[in-house]
Assembly symmetry: C2
Homo-oligomer: 253 residues x 2
């Protein structure tokens, strides 16, 4: 024996709580059901509220719970699958699924964006704001950066801003030949403006999808889209030519 190892080697309370609650959610609760409030739950499990909250936080991160201030904690539905890089094999705005243009302005992008686009550090680019909903809920907010050189014919445009201008910019960009796209996904936290659009608090976890649109051997546009990490599962199309049907979203409980 020597090191007699107890089964749990001092598992943190919040982690054990998470496990217990997960099992309870699987077996005893229906989607949408309201849980007891945090103070009651904490008392029931004999822990401080902060500890209970740590467990709930985990479960919300995993998409099992949804918490809303002033309302309560409810059991979340399974994550919704959101297609990325498939719905528009072409330029943004083409077949026009998913994304809703909000507005467009001419602005100097962050340094990181400018570097990818190859524009000068003080050079303004078209910045199209779009939003995406799924099943009535907002799931993503996007900033689409397009250098002026990508849309040279966009000079005499009537709308100074707003959705009309956004659509005009998207219309112009479609005239370019799209050679390819590159996606990357990373974890981030929602900034204040994104958070508001996604109906979350600042700092909420988001999946940041960065897409480079390639045309003429260079990056003709750059999209930075932030998806709600708690409610979304991003799906990427098959890399082969075969498209597969696999029924509605399901998840074994």
């Amino acid at each position: 024996m020597g090191t007699t190892q107890l089964e749990s080697v001092a598992e943190p309370k919040y982690w054990h709580l998470r496990t217990v609650l997960t099992e309870a959610l699987d077996s005893e609760f229906a989607v949408g059901e309201i849980l007891p409030n945090e103070r009651d739950l904490a008392a029931r499990f004999g822990v401080a509220r902060a500890t209970l909250r740590q467990a709930l936080e985990q479960l919300e991160l995993e998409g099992r719970l949804q918490r809303r201030r002033g309302v309560g904690t409810t059991v979340a539905p399974p994550r919704v699958g959101v297609a990325v890089g498939t719905e528009h094999h072409a330029w943004p705005g083409s077949a026009e699924d998913a994304w809703q243009p909000v507005d467009s302005v001419l602005a100097v992008p962050p340094a990181a964006v400018a570097e990818v686009l190859g524009t000068g550090p003080d050079e303004a680019v078209h910045t199209v704001r779009r939003s995406r909903t799924s099943q009535g809920q907002p799931v993503a907010a996007e900033l689409l950066h397009i250098p002026r050189s990508s849309v040279p014919d966009l000079s005499a445009i009537d709308a100074p801003s707003g959705a009309a201008r956004a659509r005009a910019v998207l219309r112009e960009v479609q005239r370019l030949e799209l050679e390819g796209r590159e996606n990357s996904v990373e974890l981030g936290s929602a900034r204040a403006d994104d958070a508001k659009e996604l109906d979350r608090l600042p700092g909420a976890p988001v999946l940041v999808v960065t897409t480079r649109f390639l045309s003429g051997g260079r990056v003709a546009a750059l999209s930075v889209a932030t998806y709600r990490a708690d409610t979304c599962r991003l799906t990427f199309g098959a890399s082969g030519g075969v498209e597969i049907h696999h029924g509605p979203q399901q998840r074994a409980s």
Copy 2:
């Protein structure tokens, strides 16, 4: 005046702290540098340690900081780009980049996995464990589930387990014709075993990449890979036929 609105409408302290620290990291700290300890930092900013920790947690989530118990908090390097769905346009184990087979056992998978594979609820499948490192650091742990029906000729195998057996299974699966793959990405938290392999604490945020391998009109294998969310940026190949060279990973600071 009526509702005289101050500029910050009561921004939470931890969020403001996060902003201040972000700027400090951008301008005054080098990668790898050690920050003052949490108690000192909290005192310096005039907040409780818990509040300071909330800000640090955010920054760690965003990949800006790295915290290690007993050691300290250091400035993290930029996230490393990790190719997904490109390094093996073929079956796992083919060109053999990235993934290291660890072992393989015959076990009954979780219900959710069984459902996708179309196997019975008590049917055992080959479960290959693999790990992936990048720049000397572990970045991902994978469980590759392969129904016995996908590798029918794998009966008289010598190795009962271990890396040798894992390689044998991967060798067999390559004989199938790969028709396509489907990836999905979602946020999760590391379970105890994954956490240990990734050198993180249980509950650490991870990006869960689920890949369906399609052959013969059905799912011939299912991979569930968990990537460290703090250190990884997942990259997906261009969906067009064009492959683009874009130099080594870079990010504007």
